[in-house]
């Protein structure tokens, strides 16, 4: 692996992957005037470079037939990690059978250059591909900026509105913020936990935004009742209860009824005092007749009311509030949402404190933008890679420990610098179970046993495994501590293993 740079400081990096030194030399010669060139001799090295440099690499020039891991193996890795959407690949090969070219394109290469390549074509294809990807990246960031601005002013308008209601109510604006954050946390957890419930990031954003409007109907409640210093009489309470239907009524007079935001806001206003057993108001809806949005906001509303001080009561502690909700002291709620509340209860106080001040972050906007793009079949995952890869790189680069991570599909073992040194192996080992070099270090039986153990282990639980390994022909005891990586959702599948080891 090497790096050649005849260009300036901010030149784009191109990774040339080819087993022939002569080929790398020719391609480097054609491109080095304007790009910084990184070189890898085979697919495994290419993966190491992709992990090390991440999205700093602007383009990959990829040979097809190579030892250790071929070009298709690299493409498979790039696809599995969704790098192919951010880093374009130009494949170069002497293979000109349509089946190879078709396969390459199907696996996501941007261009296919047949040999003999010429200097002009190489240069033009590189320029065009980079231009296209740069344009796409620019567009994406432009759109996310616009969405961010738009959402920011939308949210601000909604906040202002709901604050007016709150102020009249003698409450601080914190209530609105808390409900928004609680609603979002609950919805996120529901989406994570229940695959059968279809909640997109956009839905969650919308419902959370609308949650701020849940009490706007209170502007129709007279001051003396709204701000009465003490408990309400039954008659007064009946008037107070009209606020939910009143909120819905007010919104029903708006012209844009087809908007999802208005629909959600109306549901939430009208039904956030309904209860799962039908004992709520104003309509006495039961079970899932109550829209999920309103069900979630009602729990958030109750939680925040309990933990806030009122003229007629002191604030309950977080623990007490959760306990009261779970015990049904504030009415009956959907058991599914209660389960989610239990799951996230421990982290709630901290999350509320952290999130109340910054509930619309650029990261969130990026998520929504990405989702929008994905739905339109233009998937972009720059953020996902850059964050994930950067963290991973940092760990591998700085750790003094022997770390490894193994992905199942494609089957690739990656180890930290330290680990590679201990094992005197490469940093990237494709197909470890059939890799002759790696089999000299660890037996296939041990690999299989370890994988089997990890497979049946719960997430967040460590597996400890000791086995004999061979380093430069010498027997050593190796202590491995690792845990499973899984897909999210109910039928979570093992996707890999992450861990560390030491050798004694």
């Amino acid at each position: 692996m090497s790096s050649t740079n005849y260009g300036g400081l901010n030149t784009e990096k191109i990774l040339i992957v080819d087993d022939s030194e002569m080929n790398r030399f020719m391609l480097t010669d054609m491109l080095a005037d304007d790009f910084e060139i990184l070189q890898a001799e085979n697919g495994a090295e290419a993966i190491t470079m992709l992990k090390d440099y991440g999205t700093e690499i602007s383009l990959v020039m990829l040979d097809m037939v190579m030892p250790k891991l071929d070009g298709f193996g690299v493409l498979e890795f790039m696809r599995a990690n969704r790098i192919i959407e951010t880093i374009p690949v130009i494949m170069i090969s002497v293979e000109n059978a349509p089946k190879y070219i078709e396969r390459a394109y199907n696996m996501g290469v941007s261009e296919f250059i047949r040999r003999p390549f010429d200097a002009f074509t190489v240069r033009k294809r590189v320029d065009n591909t980079l231009k296209l990807y740069t344009k796409q990246k620019k567009l994406l960031s432009l759109i996310s900026d616009q969405i961010y601005e738009k959402e920011k002013s939308n949210n601000m308008m909604i906040s202002i509105l709901s604050h007016i209601v709150e102020f009249r109510n003698g409450e601080s604006g914190l209530h609105v913020m808390h409900i928004r954050v609680l609603t979002e946390l609950l919805l996120n957890h529901i989406a994570l936990k229940y695959d059968n419930i279809n909640l997109s990031r956009t839905d969650i954003e919308l419902i959370s935004t609308c949650s701020a409007l849940h009490d706007i109907g209170k502007i129709a409640v007279p001051d003396e009742i709204l701000n009465k210093p003490g408990r309400l009489t039954p008659e007064e309470f009946e008037i107070m209860k009209t606020h939910s239907a009143a909120g819905d009524m007010m919104l029903s007079k708006l012209p844009f009824q087809e908007e999802k935001l208005v629909k959600l806001a109306r549901e939430i206003c009208r039904w956030h005092h309904e209860r799962y057993d039908g004992k709520g108001y104003p309509d006495g809806l039961k079970g899932d007749e109550i829209p999920l949005s309103a069900q979630v906001v009602s729990i958030a509303d109750v939680y925040d009311a309990l933990t806030s001080e009122r003229v007629y009561k002191k604030a309950f502690s977080h623990e007490k509030a959760v306990e009261m909700i779970l015990n049904g002291e504030c009415g009956t709620f959907n058991p599914m949402i209660l389960e989610c509340l239990t799951d996230i209860a421990d982290s709630l106080p901290e999350q509320l404190r952290l999130n109340a001040s910054m509930n619309l972050t650029p990261e969130k906007i990026m998520d929504v933008t990405e989702e929008t793009f994905r739905d339109n079949d233009v998937s972009i995952s720059e953020k996902a890679i850059s964050a994930g890869m950067a963290k991973y790189r940092f760990l591998l680069d700085t750790s003094e420990e022997a770390l490894f991570d193994y992905s199942d599909k494609p089957s690739i073992l990656s180890v930290s610098d330290k680990a590679a040194k201990i094992l005197s192996s490469d940093k990237t080992i494709p197909e470890p179970k059939s890799n002759a070099d790696f089999l000299k270090i660890m037996s296939a039986e041990d690999m299989e046993t370890l994988r089997g153990l990890v497979k049946i282990t719960a997430s967040d639980t460590n597996v400890k495994y000791t086995c004999v390994i061979h380093i430069d022909g010498e027997k050593k005891n190796c202590n491995i501590v690792c845990r499973p990586l899984r897909t999210s959702g109910e039928q979570a599948e093992l996707t890999g293993i992450i861990g560390k080891f030491d050798v004694v």
């Binding site: 087993d19 002569m22 020719m26 002497v94």
Partner: protein, 116 residues
């Protein structure tokens, strides 16, 4: 001898390579480096070790290189052995094919030092 004479001597395609690589200088730069490339040695060694997967990769690489550099005679010889090795197992006539590659390779390399 000049670059065109060299290509004529080794049964190569001078016009093709110059049109692809755009200048005599660039072609020369690449050709002069060609003897340093170890792919040919790798082909011989891996065939000797009966490692047919490695031999296929080496042949394949050499085929691409010779095609790109316009080494016509070498390309024809390597093309034959690459296809024979594609199944990545022993095949009839590999020794003869390797001999042909060797002959073409040596011819190609032997005149490089005479290019001015």
């Amino acid at each position: 001898m000049n670059l065109k004479d060299y290509y004529d001597k080794i049964g190569g395609d001078y016009d093709g390579v110059v049109s692809r690589l755009l200048s005599d200088e660039r072609v020369k730069k690449y050709v002069i480096r060609f003897p340093e490339d170890k792919t040919f040695e790798l082909l011989g060694a891996s065939l000797g070790a009966r490692d047919y997967a490695e031999a296929f990769r080496a042949a394949h690489t050499l085929k691409g290189l010779s095609l790109n550099l316009g080494f016509g005679a070498l390309y024809s010889a390597v093309y034959e052995i690459t296809e024979a090795l594609r199944p990545q197992k022993e095949a009839d006539g590999l020794d003869e094919m390797l001999a042909k590659v060797k002959e073409a390779y040596e011819l190609t390399v032997s005149y490089i030092k005479d290019i001015d």
